[in-house]
Symmetry: C2
Subunit: 277 residues, 2 copies
DNA sequence: TTATGTTGTACTCATCCTGAGATGAACTCA
DNA sequence: TGAGTTCATCTCAGGATGAGTACAACATAA
């Protein structure tokens, strides 16, 4: 049940006055992940003003509520996430890469006191992107960059280790930790690792995505067999890659994402044994 | 990044006026599931007033923002979920069953127009409860009841089949569908099925939980072997059940929930094959 | 050119997990 | 007493997995 049902609709609207209510702000924050140089990176912006001036934060901002006061259109939550991402990266929201990128809701963070100024409920989104250009600081940000997640010193409990230079504002260390754990899990039972690659990729490239997200090396032969045996994971293009920069070996074959939405059987990560309880 | 960082904190608070902003309301809705007579039930309340008067809805309501206008304490989101559940069931929130019940965030629903009155962002929670007494309609509800989910005619796309008598208000059919799918998945890789049982249970009782949630019969022998072989899923009490009502056979042994938080290896549901793409 | 090291792909093999069925003992009900 | 049901365990075949091996294709250095 959503708001107060004790008045009927027209009566409610006639009697409603926002001044009767304590204000709650709703924002979206985006955990945008990509692979650069074989390492997992997250998009961060640097805050120019208090609170948390100089610290880094996830890109995000207000959801446009829709109404007469600001004169904005009401905006759906995923649209707000893409808009905020576009404002920070300088990429176009609709036609470009951002429109085809994988985006899913991560969770909502609303503890009292998570923003020192006022009550803020933040809906976090998780995005998987292929390699994108360096962002241009825009909007409210003093700076914006793809940052290797290993450089943030995240602990399992959602904090940052003491001594980490890049500190995260608000509860964004927790949100990012949750996003990383979600990403690690998603790679197990969905084909979303292909969302980190471009339109075509080789099996070794796909393997390097898994290794970057999971943080451990995988057995090349078994990975190859597994990917090709799961129906709908990838489909062959018939071509071979001529990308340079490799240190030897035959030209790897090229593949496209398949049409499966779930991997069956799943690709379970080896380290899962230890973190069971 | 959360709100406007262009002013510092004290300046922001001095200049902040909620009348400058279009209002957004934040509610929590709860998908509370339990097993009754071997069938999966969800807690629903019947709306007494417009909009959607006479229709059924998930229990829920406003989050207390905290502030001078209503004079309420700021309330964390899970606390709001438990409070709303307590108001509908008549059970005590803190000490009783509701305090020990499994509760997790399901997702946030904020499409413009999902509430005809105003912009409402709803944070949905998912609860697994052991068998609870019939609820007493309280708070805003005209009626409250545990309803078999099969009687709601839910389709995979989150709608209700035409001809279903109990219609769900707002987008609650979608929220409930998402909650059911989450529950089905959770049973695969977590020991949360035990949250539907009381403190002690038999393997056949646990199996009936899986069968009710997954909607398919399981092989008794294989299920037994699997549950006992997964480390930390259940631990024996050494006792046997003397519960009546069974149609024959030896007295089953009693078990307690174990200390595992994840099932490894997982208990995969057989029907997963068909819904892969 | 040759030698060396690296990489992509394919194969083997022992082990584990799973699904399907069978068995026997314990219990209820007619 | 007999028939039917249920709990618990066992067997067996097939599939999936982890670890290792093999070899050709390629880059680079000697």
């Amino acid at each position: 049940m959503t708001p107060d049902p004790r008045r009927d609709e027209s009566e409610f609207l006639a009697n409603y006055d926002p001044r009767d209510y304590d204000p709650v702000s709703v924002t979206v924050d985006v955990v945008a992940l990509t692979i650069r140089d074989g390492a997992l990176h997250v998009l961060l912006v640097r805050r120019g003003n208090a609170p948390y001036a100089g610290m880094w934060a996830l890109p995000g901002g207000f959801v446009q509520a829709g109404g007469p006061l600001q004169g904005t259109e009401a905006e759906d939550l995923p649209d707000a996430a893409v808009r905020e991402l576009a404002e920070e990266t300088g990429l176009s929201a609709k036609g470009g890469v951002l429109g085809r990128m994988h985006l899913e809701q991560l969770g909502t963070y609303g503890s009292p006191g998570r923003d020192p100024r006022m009550r803020v409920i933040s809906v976090a989104y998780l995005a998987f992107a292929p390699e994108l250009p360096d962002p241009e600081a825009g909007g409210d940000a003093a700076d914006a960059a793809w940052v290797p997640v290993d450089a943030l010193g995240l602990t399992e409990s959602g904090d940052q280790r003491p001594g980490t230079t890049r500190r995260l504002a608000f509860d964004h260390a927790r949100i990012l930790s949750d996003g990383l754990e979600r990403a690690r899990g998603k790679l197990e039972y969905t084909p979303l690792a292909t969302a980190f690659c471009g339109g075509e990729f080789t099996i070794p490239e796909l393997r390097s995505v898994y290794e970057a997200v999971w943080g451990e090396e995988l057995h090349a032969g078994n990975f190859h067999r597994k990917v090709l045996s799961v129906p709908g994971f990838v489909e062959s293009t018939g071509e071979t890659s001529d990308r340079g920069g490799r240190r030897g070996g035959p030209k790897p074959r090229l593949y496209r994402p398949g049409d499966a939405r779930l991997l069956h059987p799943a690709l379970l990560r080896p380290s899962r044994e230890e973190e069971i309880r």
